[in-house]
Every structure is written in C-alpha cells, then in structure tokens.
C-alpha cells in the first residue's frame, strides 16, 4: 500500500489533504469534524486583530452551475474570521492538543506594520500550531483596507512582511498568493527573497458571479447591491495548475515548496497538482459542496492509483510532470495527430461534426453514402482535439499520432525528428 504520509516543510500529516483557510476551518467544532472524517491537516481560517471584523448578514455566496445544478464555481464575499482572537487561539490550542498527528497551520492577516505581525505571531506560537500562513490573497473586503490581495499584488510588500515574520518566529512560514496579478512568478520570488518556507496558491479570483436580471443587482446581493467576491471551485483549477507549474519550473523558485490550492475536488485533481510540483494540497469548495467525507474518496483514490503505478510515497510523484511543462516555442511542430472516431461507441449526436464544421476545419462528415455517419476526413483534420472535447462519450473519439507515411492534409512526409518554432523556416527570428 502506498504511503500517503506527508512532510511539508517539516509539518507532518498522515495524508497530503489539508483543508484550506476558509469557512470550514473557522471553529473547533468544524475542524474536529474534519479530523474525524480523515483530513490530514487544516489551515485555520484567517485570524485578524481585535476588534474582530464583521461579516454581512445576508448572502455570502454565489455559484456557477453546470448541468444538473452541479456546482462548478463558487464565489464568496465572506471576510476573515469574525470571532474574537482569544477564542480562536484557545480553540486552536485545544484542537492541536487533541489531534497531535494532524497538521495545524494558522492563517494570519493584520495591517502592514511590523509590530502588528510580531504581536500576533507570538500569540500563535503559544497555541502549539505547526506553522503560519500569511494571507496575501483574499481579493475582497480586506483588500480595501490594505490587506489580503492588496499586499499580494505588490512583490515588495510580500518580501517585507515575510521577512518581518521570519525574523519574529521560528514557526515555518507559508505565503499564500493571490492569482489576481499578471505573472505569478514575481510574488513567488518575493516570498522566497523574504525567507518564506513555502508558498500556497491560489487564493480566490476576483469575480462577479452573476447578475439578478429582475433587480439588476450582482449576486450575492446585499440590499440590492453586490461587491466583487473571490471565485473558487472546479472552474479555477486550470488557472491554479498553471500558476503552480510556473513557480515550479522557474529556475529561481524551483526549490520553493508549494502547497497547491484551487478547485481540487478528487484524488485525480490532487495528483495533478502534486505532479506539477505541489508538495501537498489544500481543499475547500469540494468540502463546502459535499461535506468532509469527500476526503475518503481522495485518500483511497490516490492510494489506489499510486499502487497501480508503483509509486510508494508522495515524493515519487511530486514534480514528475514539471519537466514536461515548457514554452510553446519548444513544442514539436513535427508531431502530427488525427482524430479517430470509434464507430462502435458513437451514439450519433453529431456534435463533433457541427463544431468542426461551424467553428473549425470542416474535417468530420455528417453522412456517408447518404446515411448519417460521422467520420474524420484526414485531409482536413489539423488534430485540434475539439471533437474529442465535445463528444459526450468517453473514449469515443481519440487522437492518434501519425508516426510514418504522409500527412494527407499537408502532403508532407511524417518527420520523426523534433523541430520547434525556434528553428522553423517560417520564423523570421529562427536560430538557424
């Protein structure tokens, strides 16, 4: 059986699944339920200074649904914890004492002044927590007060506050990054420069999730007005994966540990984040959609896959896909693939045909010999994968590589040699 135990910057947990700093980790009651359900660790919901902040008393969430009202995107305007600091600290201390084998990280957000950070760090140390996470990510509410993402959007501030914290405590320091920036590598480098032990990402994406067309108010609506919130859930996973990979393959930050966050809903998502370089993962929306029990699927799924692939521990999967993330210019332009439709699996919906016909390359028939029949026309197929993407039947359409002969679309022989854009004759800047 694969060993799922996780050592992330010295913080140990029985598995790599942590709950992210968010509503599910706001109280001892919730966190205890999470640990009972099997979560490996939590990042306690962000603490601030007293007097504690207040939340709106109306709806905090808005959603994007896919078919069958499956939640694929969640938007929230909830702020950091709205409970007194003392109560949170007491509960953190008690829960860590009750669950010594689980990771207990405390998320923090205080004004950008050194004494404020030093003061709260001392109080957290007293709880016996395993580490702290600096919340430089929340894009709503607190950012208007000069905290959260308004710090995370300025690399100099990230470096400055991180340094204060590292000087003030021996606890491991994780810096949580906002995706609401142009290039994630700059904030990550700044965190490293400030001495961060790790980064975690992504925090939520600035968003308006929908507009009520009766009241003309954005949702969630508070007395007829809406404010942008933070977007998360399965919909943001691709954004998060890319940002994790960008940091993991950046020569300056390649050694910087990453806690992956963003739409992780099942074992496969978690494995993908780890393959791109995350040392563990943090989850929120999946738990807020289905409850804490989802972690059991994540644990058993990851174990099963690792056993089947012969991976004995997490180290053998972390970062294994990172070397395969490259720049477009290095993609092999001599690689040719064509879509192939398995007629036995085809249910005749015709969507592959119409999307290819209307929006792509007119490379799929709608009829053959007068009968409804969807078949790829190799002479037209550029191998774009759109048909595979829209087909409702798994594995009905697959992309198959051409390894020999002539590409009927270009009439060029298949060339098994690697050639990329940097040397392509059409590139005016080609190297040779």
């Amino acid at each position: 059986m694969a060993d799922l135990s996780n050592d992330f910057i010295g913080i140990k947990s029985p598995n790599p699944f942590w709950l992210a700093s968010a509503p599910p980790t706001d109280k001892a009651y919730n966190v205890t339920r999470a640990f009972e359900a099997g979560w490996g660790g939590v990042v306690w919901k962000t603490l601030g200074e007293d007097p504690h902040i207040v939340n709106v008393n109306g709806p905090r969430y808005g959603v994007v649904h896919s078919a069958d009202r499956r939640l694929i995107g969640l938007n929230n305007i909830e702020l950091i914890t709205d409970r007194p600091l003392d109560i949170n600290l007491e509960e953190i201390k008690q829960v860590k004492r009750d669950w010594p084998d689980r990771a207990m990280v405390v998320s923090l957000m205080v004004p950008c002044e050194e004494p404020n950070w030093k003061s709260i760090l001392k109080r957290v140390e007293d709880t016996g927590a395993d580490g702290v996470e600096l919340n430089f990510g929340c894009p709503h509410g607190m950012s208007e007060r000069g905290m959260g993402s308004s710090v995370g959007q300025v690399p100099e501030y990230i470096e400055m506050v991180t340094r204060w914290c590292k000087e003030a405590t021996d606890m491991p320091v994780i810096v949580k990054l906002t995706p609401n920036i142009n290039d994630i590598r700059y904030p990550a480098r700044a965190a490293l420069a400030g001495g961060a032990d790790a980064v975690s990402l992504i925090n939520t994406v600035s968003s308006i999730v929908s507009v009520n067309l009766d009241t003309m108010s954005p949702e969630p609506s508070i007395d007829g007005k809406g404010s942008h919130g933070g977007y998360c859930g399965p919909a943001v996973k691709p954004i998060a994966l890319n940002m994790v990979a960008e940091i993991a393959r950046d020569s300056e930050t390649a050694e910087l540990p990453i806690s992956g966050i963003g739409g992780i809903s099942n074992w496969r998502d978690a494995a993908e984040f780890m393959a791109l370089g995350a040392g563990n993962v943090q989850v929120c929306t999946a738990a807020m959609t289905y409850g804490f029990k989802v972690v059991q699927e994540m644990i058993t799924g990851l174990e099963q896959w690792m056993d089947e692939k012969g991976h004995t521990d997490l180290q053998s999967i972390i970062g294994k896909a990172t070397p395969n993330v490259t720049d477009w210019q290095y993609l092999n332009l001599n690689f040719v693939s064509k879509a192939v439709i398995d007629q036995d699996k085809c249910i005749q919906c015709g969507r592959c045909h119409v999307v290819c016909e209307d929006t792509s390359h007119q490379a799929i028939t709608q009829s053959v010999d007068g009968k409804r029949h969807f078949q790829v026309i190799d002479e037209e197929c550029v191998g774009c994968n759109l048909c595979v993407s829209v087909c409702p039947v798994d594995e009905c359409i697959t992309m198959q590589q051409m390894t020999s002969g002539v590409d009927p679309r270009t009439n060029s022989p298949i060339n098994s040699e690697y050639q990329n854009w940097t040397t392509h004759p059409n590139n005016p800047m080609a190297n040779s």
Partner: protein, 441 residues
C-alpha cells in the same frame, strides 16, 4: 379536478404525471443538443426538440412552447398521446448510449402546459398574431387534430376559416377516442379553446358531411376546402354472435366512457375479451380493467411482433392486469341466457407464406362482454360520389395533402398516407394549410 383515490382513480389520473420545475430541469440537462438531431427527424411534425429542451433548461418555457407550436399547434396533446417510445425517444442518442432516452414527451408537456396555463389565464396572449385578413375563405371539415392544425395555420396567414364538425364537441379523437388517463382534466377542450384563441376561426358543431353539408356546397362557397373527417365507421364484424347483448364496438365503448359524467353508470363485464391488436384495443382493455372488470383479455390474431400497439403499450396493459393472447382469432361468439354473450371461441393461428391460417385447434374463453377493436374505416360515400380519387379505400392525396380536386385538400386518418396517429394528423393539416395558402396568394 384530478381524482387520485376512489374506485375509478386510474381513469382520471395522469398516466404520466406532469414534471415539476425541478424534474424538468434535471431532465432537460440530459439533452445533448445534437446536430441535425435524430429525434427531430423521427418527429412527424419536425419539432426542433433540442432547441425547445434547451429553452426549458435556460428558464424560458414560454419560448420553448413557441418552438413546439411553430411546428405542432397541438403539441400539448401530442405530448400526452404520442407513442414517443417509437418516435422521438426511440431515436434519442441517449437511447443508443444508455437505453434511457431523454423524456422528450414529458418535457414537451412541461413547456406546453406552461404556455396553455398562461394562454388560458386572464391576461391571455395567444402566441401567434393573425396576419392582415386576406379576404379568402377556407372551409375545414372535421375539428379533429388535422382540421384544428390546418385551421390554425390558415388563420395565422389571415384567411377566414370555418370549421364544421359532426360531433357535439370539437376535438375529434382527442375528445372521443383516446384513453381518459392520457388526457385528463378535459384537456382536449382546453386545447381547442387555445387553438381557436388566435381568432378568425368559426366553429360549427353538429354538422355532418353528407347529411347537413355536401362537398358541392362547400367547394362552391369557399376558396378552398380541407377534409379531416377521420374514420367515421367501424369495421363490422361478421363473426357469428356479433349481434349478442354484451358485444360492443371498442371505439364506441371508449367514446361513451370519455363523455361519461358518472363512471358507475357504465356497464362493464366481469370477464371482458377485447378483439384486436392496436392502440384502441389497449385503451379499451386498460380502461375496462380500471372500470372494475375482473379479468380482461386481449385476443390478437397475429404474433406479438405484428401488434400495432407498441411494446410499451402492451406492457402498460399487462401491468394493469390485462392478459394478452397472441395468434388467436375469434371463430364465434357464444350465446348464453337471454341472448347475452357467454364466451368467445378462439382458434390458434399460424402464419405461413400463404398468410394467416387457422390451426383447427380452439378453446373457449368465458366472457360476459366482448369489445371489438378490429379497425375503423373511412366512410367514403360523400367523397366518392363527389368524384374524389381514393386509394386503399381512403382519400388519395399528394405530398402537399392535395386531393384530385383542385379546391380540396385532406389529412388525418381519412387519407391514404402516414400513420393513424394524432401527430401525423397535425402534420397533414399543417402541410395542407401551407399548400392552400400558396394556392390562394
């Protein structure tokens, strides 16, 4: 009021209860929005099914209903009575994929019910507006599905339409000929009111072609005539004993039941035998069971696969306790006391190259009521004497549903085309109206 308990609950309860908003939403989400969708091809009226389902999915049931009505103004009735399992739903790609098609009929009912509720509410707005009056007059004979469909389409184009119908009420087979559990709560009349709501259509009931009206008169008085008179006579049984008390025609049995205000006043046997293998046989047998018959048997002369009733309909009968006996034909109806039926002698049959033949092996099924569902026929007198060309004993029409007479079009069960289904009748009326409109303008 929908009656959900009581001795006759089955007759007044929807066979398929309507979907509520949540159910419709879940089901609509299953549609793949196919290209050149097979369900559309399979629908005789060619409703754009993927579009109307997507409109339900996106919270636009009124627009969805309009999509349906664009091709089938009787979409509400068709949602209830179409054998979807052999039409759109059989063609659904999810039938291919997982043996569970999208419930197209139920979704169609959801949208059309929504629209009819609005249409029949106080702020009624019919989904179509009449074009400017053309000054042309068209006569429609028969207020069944084909006649109503034709009249509505003609009214949309601005022609003045008069409908004559032989019955007391309009609706044709929708009103008189379909099992009650398929069209509860007086839906047939509600739908007629909706169709006529466009305006420009005058309806006269109790007027029978050949008695109160001749084709000569109407062709003289109107610019065009549409004939949608259905099958007005039932095939007469020549079996010995057909005249016995307790032997009845299944069509008349259903019509009496549909018009009944008090089911307990209807006479129903303890042991009922229904002769036939079509939808009428099923409708009669199931309703006989619901009325309280203890044993109901359908006797069909050919093997199961030859039955006109779909497999679904056969199963429906069986779940209502009806026994279906295949490959048996009536030899004679046996008399008991007082000239009343006591049983049916049935002979096993076999099908060979020479067609159906008896095996000389027979048995007697005891019965105190026998319902004959052996088909209906077109009463050709009026058409024939006027010189309309017939084929297969029905009115002969071209692809536009035009007859051999330059001013007469025809559709529904009385023509020799399509299948005898409500949805085909609606399509006939629509095609004829388009052709009439082209000829008048």
């Amino acid at each position: 009021m929908q009656q959900e308990t009581g001795p006759f609950a089955g007759l007044e309860t929807d066979l398929h209860p309507p979907l509520d908003g949540h159910e419709a939403s879940v089901e609509a989400d299953r549609c793949y929005f196919c290209y050149d969708a097979p369900c559309v091809t399979a629908c005789p009226t060619g409703i754009d099914i993927p579009l109307f389902i997507r409109q339900i999915q996106t919270g636009n049931p009124s627009g969805s209903a309009k999509t349906i009505f664009d091709e089938n103004i009787l979409g509400g009735m068709c949602a209830r009575v179409c054998p979807t399992e052999t039409l759109c739903e059989q063609a659904c790609v999810r039938q291919t994929a997982e043996n569970k098609p999208v419930s197209i009929g139920a979704l169609q009912r959801y949208a059309t019910d929504h629209a009819l509720r609005n249409e029949l509410s106080e702020s009624k707005t019919h989904p179509y507006q009449r074009a400017k009056p053309t000054g042309k007059k068209v006569c429609v004979i028969g207020a069944g599905p084909s006649g109503l469909s034709c009249a509505h389409r003609l009214a949309r184009y601005g022609h003045a339409v008069t409908i004559f119908d032989a019955g007391d009420k309009p609706g044709g087979l929708n009103e008189y000929g379909i099992a009650s559990y398929k069209t509860t709560n007086n839906f047939a009349q509600e739908e007629v009111e909706f169709v006529l709501g466009i305006g420009g259509i005058t309806l006269q009931t109790g007027v029978r072609l050949g008695v109160d009206l001749s084709l000569q008169e109407v062709t003289d008085q109107y610019d065009a005539v549409f004939l949608g008179v259905g099958l007005d006579s039932v095939n007469k049984s020549n079996i010995t004993g057909s005249e016995l008390t307790g032997v009845a025609d299944a069509v008349e049995f259903i019509a009496a039941l549909r018009q009944s205000q008090d089911y307990s006043s209807l006479s129903i046997g303890r042991r009922v035998v229904v002769i036939g293998g079509g939808m009428t046989a099923i409708d009669a047998a199931v309703q006989a069971s619901m009325l309280g018959a203890e044993d109901v048997m359908i006797a069909y002369r050919r093997p199961r696969e030859k039955m006109n009733a779909s497999v679904y309909e056969q199963q429906l009968a069986q779940t209502h306790g009806v026994k279906i006996k295949h490959s048996v034909r009536p030899v004679k109806i046996i008399a008991g006391d007082d000239n009343a039926v006591a049983g049916v002698e049935l002979e096993y049959t076999t099908e060979g190259e020479g067609g159906l033949s008896g095996t000389d092996e027979s048995f007697v099924e005891n019965a105190d009521q026998v319902l004959m569902a052996i088909g209906q026929a077109f009463d050709a007198d009026a058409a024939e004497s006027f010189g309309l060309a017939l084929s297969n004993k029905r009115v002969s029409v071209d692809a536009d549903r035009k007859t051999s007479h330059e001013k007469i079009w025809a559709g529904g069960d009385c023509i020799d085309a399509g299948e005898d289904l409500t949805v085909w009748a609606v399509q006939d009326g629509k095609l004829a109206a388009e052709s009439i409109h082209r000829s008048l303008t």
